[in-house]
Symmetry: C2
């Protein structure tokens, strides 16, 4: 199986889809992105990379707070809408029911299965197209509807993932294996 160079590109399969929430000019705004990753466990930290000069960026910097909201399959239309249209052109404060937590300036989505409330820790300019916002997750919110035995249940959350190859959203099928178990007795 010969490898063929594909050229440099932002290839990662698949990427989680989330809605980044920020207060901009005193109003809640939500931006769908797939450039997101956990960057720390203790304390829990997350990064979101946003194209420079997006509407949300100033709001995050001003309030030093943002949220990361999981996107479930049931929210796919609204999520896509929040990725297509800029808050500079449409008012996205009414797309979802909004609630606030202890930071008071990180708007979160009631309909979302899981909400992360983040205190801005660092803004990184890597010199290219995007700015990286790193936040400490100060609280997480969910409802009983998305938990089983008190733990987040992926089958109930039904998260959307993004496929940059075909520009499409996918859903998950099923468990393939237990992590930290299936490879325990593997013999290379």
């Amino acid at each position: 199986m010969a490898k063929v160079k594909q050229g440099p590109g932002s290839f990662l399969f698949p990427m989680p889809v989330v809605l980044v929430g920020a207060n901009v000019k005193g109003k809640a705004n939500f931006l769908s992105i797939a450039y997101v990753g956990i960057v720390g466990h203790a304390p829990p930290m997350i990064e979101v990379a946003i194209r420079k000069n997006r509407f949300s960026s100033d709001g995050i910097k001003e309030n030093k707070a943002f949220s990361v909201n999981a996107a479930s399959a049931a929210m796919v239309e609204a999520t896509d809408y929040c990725g297509i249209y800029s808050g500079a052109k449409v008012d996205k404060s009414q797309v979802f029911e909004v609630f606030y937590g202890e930071l008071r300036t990180a708007p979160m989505i009631e309909e979302s299965p899981f909400n992360l409330e983040c205190k801005l820790a660092k803004v990184l300019d890597l010199g290219g197209s995007h700015e990286v916002f790193i936040g400490e997750i100060v609280e997480a919110y969910s409802s009983e509807d998305y938990l089983s035995d008190g733990r987040p249940d992926l089958a109930k959350i039904e998260p959307i993932v993004y496929d940059g190859g075909s520009l499409s959203y996918w859903t998950l099928r099923d468990k393939l294996a237990h992590a930290f178990q299936i490879g325990k007795d593997y013999q290379p």
Copy 2:
């Protein structure tokens, strides 16, 4: 639907699973992680967050190069193995067939559907459990087996995703919708 506080935690659903490749003491080593995200499009940049003092970390810093290799369902046992056992204890240089690209010190996995060759751009210490390695993707590699019409085909790649809630690996089902289309006419 009342929200319940879940406490701060590294909740992101789901996370992609990748194998980070690095040369350590002159030998290829691979570490499975789920803390990964694209952080730039032009130029393409990627971050991987690795628990401090892992075996791979010194190798990445020494060579200023690493790779990010997609994990397909067919590789689940070997992938899990590379997440359980440290390179300090087992020799992981023989787990996969290894190839090198233009950087010469970023080992990549022949069996992996997609390989990203990365030049280290920045190491971030956020003060917590993990170190963040940010790399510029200088080349990507795949084979015809994982492409359709020249583009990466998620159905052929069959990527594993990680569910931190149940500590399990999942696969994808099917396309849910076209991105940047399904929400075009959405009326909030």
